[in-house]
């Protein structure tokens, strides 16, 4: 591999940081200049991630584009990056959503320079999380991402921004602390290094093991899981999400829903699962239950909301429940069918579905938040019962919004469907009851989304204040919404574009763990 390809992951991660430095040197009153510079940076980052995709070997389940350099040699901490089929789609999603969120950031008018700098630092943190293969480095990026987010909500947020920002920060920090404990447990039990690939191999080694003591392993797993579940967020660790979303400015909501939540799911797949395989076998029932409860609970809670953004936030809780469910449907060998049917195929399908759900939700929820933001920018309220009749005033906007909300509803041909249905299909082999309850979510989801559409977009008259401000969608908004909808359709019709990237790595993971769980 040539030098450029070795540099590429580093470039991807630090391109936004570099951009932030440039922005810091620019004058603060040239607002448009700042915005276009930041936009250029996100475009460059996106192109760089596409180059990662270009150099990616779809048939290799292992880490690619690996970079290893000693960082703190005394502690065996490395600057170690790499991508595989699990991280690459999320890296792409991150740079993609950041690009669109940056386009949506024109609505931010307060202290633009600081906002843009923090935005780019946040992007660095997120990309770093998805590409780090050293546990300590992962942890560092995880924390790096936290601070900009805190300020972005706390300074540019709505009326209760301080409350929301602190709630977000403390919740996540609590999770980080748990992760830190687990990190130390793993470090001292696993040859005192942080290399995630090596640790995973050690943990899945049929002869040896990483955390040989099962109690210890269970502790490590639950600490990690809670840390990540807060981020996903799973019921009952989800209450930071509605507040953070409601207060955050639109583009930050897009990133929060589109990317940040996925870090939880990714963390489970990258760290909690491979490092504690036996514990996963024991925990699976609880994981599945948490997933199912999140699906149903989130859907019910969404139905009761009157704040448009809160409703979308709860729909995120519901949709991310499928992610936990899909990961948890551990299947080793299908007992009912003897040797002919290998349950781990269903499990791999569940994980694939969970991953796809993360991508699909990344697109659809970012779109939903953006669509809410578009009307909020105009009429400055979000009370669902005080909308109505937007279809005739903003027809194009309504068409796009309907498409994106249908994606959230899980309509076939759009991105939300594939993940949901594949997860649910794979769940039956694990638990019939859980699968049935999860499937009943489709009724509730249809209920709250259609009811919302009716109250906001349909009807004869607009019922709220600032009626005159309901102007048709602007070109910049059109680009963001149009691109999101286009991708929602693309992913919905050709899901195999993503499955073909992910499947080998997931199969590798599932098989590696199945050996350990089954024994």
């Amino acid at each position: 591999m040539d030098d450029f390809h070795i540099l590429l992951p580093t470039l991807v991660i630090f391109a936004p940081t570099f951009g932030a430095i440039i922005l810091a040197l620019m004058p603060r009153d040239n607002v448009e200049g700042l915005r276009y510079t930041a936009l250029t940076i996100t475009v460059v980052t996106f192109v760089l991630t596409l180059m990662l995709l270009g150099g990616f070997d779809f048939d290799d389940p292992k880490m690619q584009h690996e970079v290893v350099a000693a960082w703190i040699p005394n502690w065996n901490i490395n600057y170690q990056l790499g991508i595989d089929g699990i991280s690459l789609p999320l890296v792409l999603l991150t740079s993609f959503i950041c690009l669109l969120a940056m386009l949506a950031s024109w609505s931010v008018t307060k202290q633009v320079k600081g906002y843009l700098i923090l935005f780019l630092l946040l992007e660095t943190g997120m990309l770093g999380v998805f590409m780090a293969t050293d546990f300590f480095l992962f942890y560092v990026f995880w924390e790096v991402m936290l601070l900009p987010m805190y300020f972005l909500i706390g300074i540019w947020g709505g009326p209760r921004k301080e409350y929301a920002a602190i709630k977000f920060f403390l919740y996540t920090l609590f999770g980080s602390v748990l992760m830190l404990i687990a990190l130390l447990m793993i470090y001292y039990n696993g040859g005192q290094h942080f290399d995630l690939v090596g640790l995973a191999e050690q943990a899945q080694d049929p002869e040896g093991g990483l955390l040989v003591d099962l109690t210890m392993q269970k502790w490590a797993f639950w600490l990690l899981f809670i840390g990540f579940a807060i981020k996903i967020p799973s019921v009952p660790f989800h209450t930071w999400l509605p507040d953070a979303h409601v207060e955050a400015p639109t583009p930050i909501s897009m990133i929060l829903a589109g990317v940040l939540l996925k870090m939880g799911g990714y963390g489970i797949l990258r760290i909690a699962f491979p490092l504690c395989p036996e514990a996963v076998g024991h925990a699976s029932t609880i994981l599945v239950a948490i997933g199912v409860i999140s699906i149903i609970y989130g859907a019910f809670a969404a139905m009761a909301q009157t704040d448009f953004k809160r409703l979308v936030a709860y729909s995120s809780v519901s949709h991310m429940g499928y992610v936990v469910l899909g990961m948890g449907v551990v299947g080793v060998v299908g007992a009912a069918h003897g040797e002919g049917f290998i349950g781990s195929d269903y499990w791999a399908m569940g994980i694939n579905g969970a991953m796809f759900q993360m991508l699909g939700h990344g697109v659809s929820s970012a779109g939903m938040f953006f669509m809410v933001g578009v009307v909020y920018d105009r009429v400055h309220h979000r009370n669902i019962n005080e909308f109505g009749g937007l279809a005739s005033r903003m027809p194009l906007y309504t068409g796009l919004a309907a498409g994106i909300f249908f994606a959230g509803l899980g309509l076939p041909g759009l991105c939300g469907f594939v993940g949901e249905v594949f997860v649910v299909l794979s769940a039956w082999q694990f638990s019939k009851l859980m699968a049935i309850i999860a499937a009943s979510g489709v009724i509730l989801t249809a209920g709250y989304i259609l009811w919302t559409l009716q109250r906001v977009y349909l009807g004869a008259e607009y019922k709220g204040p600032h009626e005159e401000a309901l102007t048709p969608i602007r070109p910049r908004e059109l680009i963001v919404a149009g691109v999101l909808l286009a991708f929602a359709i693309l992913l919905g019709i050709f899901p195999n574009t993503m499955f073909s990237i992910m499947d080998d790595s997931i199969q590798h993971l599932a098989n590696g763990m199945a050996g350990k769980i089954g024994s």
Binding site: L170, P236, T239, P242, Y297, F300, A301, M303, A304, Q305, A336, H337, G338, E339, G340, F341, I342, S344, D345, Y346, A348, M349, N352, A391, S392, G399, F406, L411, P412, G413, F417, V418, V421, F422, V424, L425, W428, Q429, A435, I436, A439, S440, V442, I443, L444, A446, G447, L450, W451, Y457, L458, G459, A460, E461, F494, P495, N496, F499, D503, Q507
Partner: protein, 799 residues
């Protein structure tokens, strides 16, 4: 790309054409300019939609013709059978030839895939593209083409083309920039003015056609589900086309959500099949399997080459052996396969508006009438029946019995409501539900061909009647209440005439005992309903415990005749009841009446020859009749047995229908007995029927309100309990911090300060010794050293 059969190619293109149309039409608001010099927008979008679906019809027709010649679809399947004695006493000479099929061993009949008649395969299937592969598991977009697919394609595209053309006329007032919706009252009391949405209507229609054709083309049950949902959303969009009307958007929501309830069952069915069989495919691919052993489909796995289900009793209950599987010992518990069948059927119940999910269809009449004709009578709602028929091989006897009873209940309940409905479209809606019930019943009784036969004939005459009602509605300036109409036959002769054809067809009237060139003098509905009633009668004789399944359709045949003729007499016969309405009424333009005439032609002739005719014969080539499972209590009737009861059933059904017609004529044509008096005498019953058996109230109390209550609970649980706990922690944290501060400031700082103060004081007091005199310091040092030594010796004396 692998080789794809030419018929499949034609259908795939016919399927994708409307999608292209949709993509272009949906943006027509930007490109369809005004007509030169007029205030109307151009009709380009409509022409495009008609072109797409019309092109689809031509392609489907050529595929059908190619299928007929390739597979010999018009030949009776008995052509090579020598064992079949002709039943000379049967009046229907054409039917006779077919009934003998019952004597052919079922294996040959069912296994058309590999050893079909005429030596060729009777279906083609293959993959279009893959959705995902997970180890051995694979989900794909497939096609599956047999005679049923071909006929459905042709029927759907033909009817859709007629309805699209009709809609050009019906939706004409949507072409203005300033359309007035008289049903929407704004806050200031005025009517709503809005730009017309002519193009949008046609783009939705195109999207619907694409989805519907995809559903029919589907080669696996997962793909059926995908398009199942898509037709659902198209139905949502079309029902709610008048988005400003609250009733319309509510009806659209109701339709979609009630369908989702059915789909919930569908998903459970999918989960069971997927986990037990590891595939969704109907049958193995014929295209592109490289001659290797093809992956078996569900039908081949459930039933063996002779169409038999291999049931085995074990200690843990009955199991069904999975055929054609790599693992010879693979099996599925019997109850689970029943559950899978019931689950899939639950989807059909939702889509086809069967009891207990029938409530959405009457409300769906809020959509424009062409939508009701296409989506809610001819095609989408029939998709449930289509799927039940397509999935027939997977259904076990218990499932079939459920299907039969659901159908029987539905057809009766809906027909009773239709008697009292006064909205012309609602009568037709209930009639649709009832007729769908007939089809379901037929399928549940094992009358596979009869059910599908009725599906096709019903599609023609019901879409015809809906379009006629649309013509009436346009003619009467959007009046839909029949009590205000009357005598319209003079103003709208074509509509009245074609409507009468439809009414006669659905009632199944015929001229008994007379035949013309060997054909009975009867419209399409007679043949198909006859087939169903005959099946039911045979079934009731074979299974006396289930006689109700014969009585319900028989009685309902009379009710059907009654309410349909009631509708016709109410609307077209007699004297005008509302003179003003009558005076402004007019016959519809040619663009609307020509489709009526075309559909009327098919409503008369599409089933010509009855069960010996080309339509039934072609359908029956796709039939897979299961042998009844030995230890099931149900005996499914065979074709031969049905043939024995055919004449008897036909006479009975005709008699009942004639009575219904006569009653309707007396009450609504002659006016004696006066329907008003009867209504007053049975006020309670009447109200119960007008209230639609109170299903809506029941569901509202049982499901909708509880859901909202639970939602409110969960939401407040979040705010009160979860956030409460969190706030308590936060609060405790703050209290602790305050404590800590107090502790710090008062105690720790106090001690530190005290020590500091003491030290300072000591320093102060010692400052007197700091004199600056060296001698004194030396003395202090010396004293200090001596003291140290003394202390050392005192404390550590030994060393």
């Amino acid at each position: 790309m692998t080789h794809i059969d030419s018929k499949a190619w034609l259908l795939i293109i016919a399927w994708l054409l409307p999608l292209c149309g949709f993509v272009i039409e949906v943006f027509a608001g930007y490109w369809s300019h005004r007509c030169p010099g007029g205030r109307y927008k151009s009709r380009t979008a409509a022409y495009l939609a008609v072109g797409c679906i019309g092109g689809g019809f031509l392609l489907s027709l050529s595929a059908l013709i190619s299928g007929i010649s390739d597979w010999g679809l018009l030949e009776h399947q008995t052509s090579h059978s020598q064992a079949a004695p002709l039943e000379s006493d049967n009046p229907d000479a054409h039917a006779t030839a077919h009934f003998t099929v019952a004597n052919v061993p079922h294996g040959e009949d069912a296994d058309t895939g590999e050893t079909g008649h005429g030596g060729g395969q009777k279906y083609v299937s293959g993959e279009i593209y893959t959705l995902g592969t997970f180890g051995k598991l694979r989900i794909a977009i497939d096609y599956y083409v047999d005679s049923l697919t071909l006929i459905m394609f042709t029927m759907v595209t033909l009817i859709a083309t007629c309805i699209h053309v009709f809609a050009i006329g019906y939706m004409d007032d949507e072409r203005t920039e300033d359309h007035t919706d008289h049903q929407v009252h704004l806050a200031d009391g005025s009517h709503l003015h809005r730009p017309g949405r002519f193009y949008l209507f046609f783009s939705y229609m195109s999207l619907f056609c694409f989805s519907m054709l995809g559903l029919v083309l589907a080669g696996n049950i997962f793909m059926v589900f995908v398009f199942w949902e898509l037709v659902g959303i198209c139905s949502y969009l079309l029902i709610g086309f008048y988005v400003e009307r609250r009733s319309a958007s509510t009806a659209a929501n109701k339709a979609f959500i009630v369908n989702r309830v059915g789909d919930f069952g569908f998903i459970i069915g999918l989960m069971i099949l997927w986990t037990s069989f590891g595939t969704f495919g109907f049958k193995s691919y014929t295209d592109g399997n490289d001659g290797a052993h093809p992956e078996p489909g569900l039908f081949e796995m459930v039933r063996d080459d002779h169409g038999k289900v291999d049931v085995e009793k074990t200690d843990h209950g009955s199991i069904v052996r999975i055929q054609d599987h790599d693992d010879k010992s693979a099996s599925i518990p019997y109850w689970l396969l029943v559950a899978a069948g019931l689950g899939i059927f639950a989807g059909c119940v939702g889509k086809s508006a069967q009891f207990p999910l029938q409530t959405w269809l009457p409300d769906a009449m809020e959509g424009p009438t062409p939508v009701s004709a296409l989506v809610h009578s001819a095609t989408m709602v029939a998709a449930g029946v289509y799927l039940a028929a397509r999935f027939f091989p997977v259904f076990l006897p218990e499932v079939l019995l459920t299907i039969a009873y659901v159908g029987a209940i539905t057809l009766f309940v809906a027909a009773t409501i239709a008697i009292v409905a006064t909205d012309i479209k609602r009568v037709l809606a209930y009639s649709t539900i009832s007729q769908l019930g007939y089809m379901m019943l037929a399928i549940g009784l094992g009358g596979w061909g009869a059910g599908l036969f009725h599906l096709i004939t019903h599609a023609f005459f019901k879409s015809l009647m809906f379009l006629c009602s649309g013509s009436v509605i346009v003619g009467c300036h959007h009046e839909q209440e029949m009590p205000r109409m009357g005598g319209l036959r003079k103003k709208m002769p074509i509509t009245a005439c074609t409507m009468l054809i439809g009414v006669i067809a659905i009632c199944g009237l015929a001229v008994p005992g007379v035949s013309l060139w060997g054909y009975k003098i009867a419209f399409s509905g007679y043949h198909s309903k006859d087939a169903i009633v005959a099946t039911a009668m045979t079934y009731a004789h074979l299974n006396p415990a289930h006689s109700l399944l014969f009585l319900a359709p028989l009685v309902t045949a009379g009710i059907t005749a009654f309410y349909m003729f009631r509708l016709w007499f109410y609307t077209f016969a007699g004297e005008p009841r509302d003179q003003e309405l009558y005076d402004h009424c007019h016959e519809s333009p040619r663009v609307m009446t020509v489709p009526l005439m075309i559909l009327a032609f098919f409503a008369i002739f599409c089933a010509v020859g009855g069960e010996g005719g080309p339509l039934y014969t072609a359908i029956s080539h796709s039939e897979t009749i299961p042998e009844h499972i030995a230890d099931s209590a149900i005996t499914l009737p065979s074709h031969k047995q049905i043939a024995g009861y055919h004449q008897q059933a036909g006479i009975l059904a005709l008699l009942v229908a004639a009575v219904g017609t006569l009653l309707a004529w007396l009450m609504y044509g002659v006016g004696r007995p006066d329907p008003g008096i009867i209504r007053r005498q049975f006020a309670g019953t009447h109200e119960f029927l007008v209230e639609k058996w109170r299903f809506d109230e029941l569901y509202d109390a049982m499901f909708i309100r509880p859901v909202h209550v639970v939602a409110a609970w969960f939401s407040s649980f979040d705010r009160r309990v979860l956030d409460g706990v969190l706030h308590w922690f936060a609060h405790t944290g703050v209290v602790l911090a305050r404590w800590n501060r107090w502790f710090d400031e008062s105690l720790v700082d106090g001690i530190v300060n005290w020590i500091a103060v003491r030290v300072q004081a000591i320093g102060q007091s010692l400052s007197v010794v700091q004199t600056g005199r060296l001698r004194q310091y030396v003395m202090f040092i010396a004293l200090g050293v001596v003291t140290l030594f003394l202390l050392m010796f005192a404390l550590f004396p030994q060393t």
